[in-house]
Symmetry: C2
């Protein structure tokens, strides 16, 4: 972790621990520079990172303010970490239905940008939150990148393993959201009736070099899943 | 618009016009500096902005690459612009059902951070895409900020008017996503059966100073709405 990322994390922890609320003012730039003993450019990078994450907002000439929505229990759509991090306060578990090496479907090959004759790890899981079904998930991992998976790993956090175990650098992701109705198979795994609503998310995760390594199709139990997106002025 | 924002826009237009694809390499930093006749810090800010928007990715030591998902017809969840911009290629229209000045519901007052005795503009609309229903929308605007609205304005882009007509600076937004089933009223407006799925988004838009000015509740026609989120490594 780089210095500015570390400082960003410390500021975030400070906001958390002191239970600061939206609109609460943080110390001015000069004070933060002195406090962390870093240059203006480093602290600026830390603050820009926090602004991108939706943790603060900066108002030119007025100061740096805490940004925090009031709602609890929402999963952040903009975290690349997988659930474990967002749902730390909850008890999230996984049941592995299938795990094997096979060839990708044409759809998976297209989204992973590989040929249909390339080996992939196929993982089918049901995930639970506080004992209730959260989602039904089918994932395709490019085996030439994610070289090894086993039951133990996919029962826990695959992303944690990819980062820490395989030492891969996870970059950006594309998420495609649809709303639809549960089919028989999904309904059965989620313990719901077919025809009930689902949030269906296709996600493609890339390494920092732009190579896609994970294509997942996830159907969420609509009763359990609520998401939050904190968008920035940057994107205007 | 600041210089670095303008350059970012020009680079984006260049990518668009030359139909560059994901992974295509852009000129190196020095070339871009020379081309736009700006300092390293300005071009760095432009590139960081483009990275935040999901238009490029930067790989230290390797270069600057185009980022572009392959799917058409998805609404970006991270644009604060309202639909008009994302759906430029489509024909989006609005039908105004109600527009008046009233007191907020307790829920709206809470989300707008105002008292229940403060005047708000209440707007109820149905929006159409290529002649089919896209969403049913109830919005509450803090009247002390959004001082004037009329039928003509709310039939078109309210955000365009807020920015250009009222000269307000729109900052960040919080979006809360749920999936549920259409109630009778929503179903009727959307021309669907009650009980069918809906994507329900509550959004709170803030000025750059952090003051919320718009609380909206939007129910999407699940047949018409597909969303994309381009997430960044920044958020890891």
């Amino acid at each position: 972790m780089l210095k500015y990322q570390q400082i960003a994390e410390e500021i975030e922890t400070y906001i958390e621990e002191h239970d600061l609320q939206q609109g609460d003012k943080l110390p001015v730039l000069e004070t933060l520079m002195a406090q962390f003993e870093v240059s203006k450019s480093t602290i600026t990078k830390s603050l820009d990172l926090l602004e991108q994450k939706g943790a603060i907002f900066q108002l030119r000439g007025s100061g740096i303010f805490v940004r925090k929505h009031k709602r609890k229990g929402y999963i952040s759509l903009l975290s690349n970490q997988g659930f474990k991090k967002d749902l730390e306060d909850f008890n999230v578990t996984s049941k592995v239905i299938e795990l094997d090496v096979r060839k990708p479907t044409p759809e998976a090959a297209e989204n992973l940008n590989i040929g249909i004759d390339v080996d992939i790890y196929y993982v089918k899981r049901v995930r639970y939150i506080n004992g209730q079904t959260l989602c039904y998930e089918e994932s395709y991992y490019n085996k030439s990148i994610v070289t090894y998976l086993n039951n133990e790993i996919v029962s826990h956090s695959i992303f944690h393993y990819i980062r820490e175990g395989l030492g891969l650098k996870i970059g950006f992701s594309d998420l495609f959201l649809h709303v639809g109705q549960l089919n028989e198979e999904e309904a059965e795994y989620l313990g719901l009736e077919a025809g009930l609503p689902k949030l269906y998310i296709e996600s493609i995760f890339h390494l920092t070099n732009g190579q896609p390594f994970d294509y997942s199709k996830i159907s969420y139990n609509y009763e359990q899943s609520q998401f939050v997106v904190q968008a920035n002025s940057f994107l205007l």
